[in-house]
């Protein structure tokens, strides 16, 4: 009977007591990592700054899930669920981004890194651009920064 064994195993793991010290240790590590990420973040590393920050965040996140949330002691299904949801998050991120990076440049938002179109009006409060506000028409190009809208 598969079920009985599964639940039993989990219960055993959960009851396996370890001191509270482990939590304090994890906490310490998390704080250190926070400091590291803030310091490196302040340096505004040009190309891999965000990547580094995300890597550190992933390490922190892993610690939290494994030890604070006890995923390390839980059995297969729970881990599978967690892993699958992470996989889906990553794919949901990567595929649309691949789209933005590879599509016809004109189809990206004007003013963005992957577009040759001029930027739209920003912060005008009202849509001023003539083409759905998306493209600044020539006569607006040199207009002074618009006043706050409220």
């Amino acid at each position: 009977m598969a079920i009985a064994n599964e639940s039993h195993q989990e219960e055993k793991n959960m009851n396996e007591h370890h001191g509270a010290g482990r939590y304090w240790l994890i906490w310490g590590v998390l704080l250190v990592l926070t400091v590291v990420t803030v310091v490196t973040g302040r340096m505004h590393l040009p190309s891999f700054g965000l990547l580094l920050a995300i890597v550190i965040a992933t390490v922190k996140g892993t610690l939290v899930t494994l030890y604070f949330m006890h995923l390390a002691e839980h059995q297969g299904v729970n881990r599978l669920i967690f892993a699958v949801s992470i996989v889906f998050v990553i794919l949901a991120l990567v595929i649309p981004m691949a789209d933005l990076g590879t599509r016809f440049r004109g189809a990206n938002p004007p003013g963005s890194q992957y577009s040759d179109l001029q930027p739209p009006d920003i912060g005008t409060g009202a849509q001023r651009g003539r083409f759905g506000g998306g493209i600044r028409s020539t006569d607006l190009k040199d207009s002074p920064p618009p006043a706050p809208s409220h």
């Binding site: 016809f104 440049r105 004109g106 189809a107 990206n108 938002p109 004007p110 577009s115 040759d116 179109l117 001029q118 739209p120 009202a126 849509q127 001023r128 651009g129 003539r130 083409f131 759905g132 506000g133 998306g134 493209i135 028409s137 020539t138 006569d139």
Partner: protein
């Protein structure tokens, strides 16, 4: 053969190089679909008779597929599907990658009309002229919401995104007039957002464009007169629609083409109206505004002078909104020449 199939499948005539390419694949895919579905259906029917139940509690053999069977179940469809994908994707890349020598036409969708303009040439509303046998790249954009530019005879379609451009290209093979339909839901008159592509033989096209360029200076002036900082049309039309209701216009004017106390708003804009003094007048923004402020100034033939004045009852922007609304109810009549000239940024 392919002609016959096209008729059986109700495909419209195919008038572009892309259409010829996809129709073959179309026949293949739809043909396989029909064969497979009738095949599976018939196999099932056959077995119902062959293996009908003879005893109420009949026992059956324990039949399970061998690995070979399962492999067939997977591989046969997979081979077909991947082949279709391969051909289909090749054609898709082809149609989204314009050739270098293609001529550009800018297409702008707007609730609820299509505007066309040529880099140095004329502008047009709801009619696009292109030469036959020459690749044409469409740079499609929208002024308000999503639209989609669809020419059934060319089998091409591409969405129009507000504020940015998408591209697709085609090469028309037969001179003629082909319908353009909007296929992305865009509001009230989505189904009326029709236009035409007129494919002209090369020489006629050259003549046409020369003719148009001559009148271009005139168009420029028109374009300048256009109110250039109007708020987005989409909102105004909606406001105008509400106002027309609350101000009571709709008590006398219908929007479905039927005459009521006053002439219908449908298709009013840009119509040439016969006045009771025998003159003709083209309904434009100015005339609509005047009719609201001073209805007695021009009387439309066949109607009483009963319309109240809205002088002082309508604010400026409200008047503009109603005008926009009436403009939005234009019927898809074919109009050429002057239109507001969009200041496109050339893109490569």
């Amino acid at each position: 053969m392919s002609e016959l199939l096209n008729n059986l499948l109700f495909l419209p005539e195919s008038a572009s190089t892309f259409a010829e390419r996809v129709d073959l694949l179309h026949h293949f895919v739809v043909g396989t679909t029909m064969v497979m579905s009738t095949g599976v259906g018939l196999a099932a029917l056959f077995m119902f008779f062959r293996y009908r139940r003879r005893l109420p509690a009949q026992a059956t053999e324990y039949v399970v597929p061998t690995l070979k069977t399962e492999f067939l179940f997977v591989s046969v469809p997979l081979v077909f599907f991947l082949a279709w994908f391969g051909i289909g994707f090749r054609d898709f890349t082809w149609v989204t990658t314009p050739p270098k020598d293609a001529m550009d036409v800018y297409v702008m969708g707007k609730q609820w009309m299509w505007k066309f303009s040529y880099p140095e040439g004329p502008n047009g509303v709801n009619v696009m002229h292109v030469p036959a046998n020459r690749p044409v790249r469409l740079l499609i954009t929208s002024r308000d919401v999503l639209h989609s530019f669809y020419v059934p005879a060319f089998r091409i379609k591409m969405d129009a995104l507000p504020g940015r451009y998408t591209q697709i290209w085609f090469e028309a093979t037969k001179p003629g007039t082909y319908q353009v339909l909007c296929t992305e839901y865009c509001g009230l008159s989505h189904s009326k957002m029709l236009a035409e592509v007129v494919v002209l033989p090369e020489e006629e096209y050259e003549d046409w464009i020369k003719e148009q360029r001559r009148g271009r200076l005139q168009d420029r002036q028109d374009a300048l007169a256009d109110t250039s900082l109007v708020p987005p049309v989409a909102r105004m039309v909606e406001q105008g629609q509400v106002l027309a209701g609350t101000q009571g216009c709709l008590k006398c004017h219908s929007v479905d083409g039927s005459a009521h106390i006053g002439p219908t708003f449908l298709g009013m804009y840009d119509r040439v109206e016969k006045l009771d003094d025998g003159q003709d007048i083209r309904v434009d923004e100015a005339y609509i505004t005047q009719s609201m402020m001073d209805p007695g100034a021009h009387l439309v033939a066949g109607y009483q002078n009963v319309m109240p004045t809205y002088q002082g009852k309508l604010q400026g922007p409200e008047t503009a909104a109603i005008v926009e609304y009436i403009k939005s109810l234009r019927t898809p009549n074919v109009r050429e020449g002057a239109s507001e000239g969009p200041a496109y940024d050339p893109i490569q």
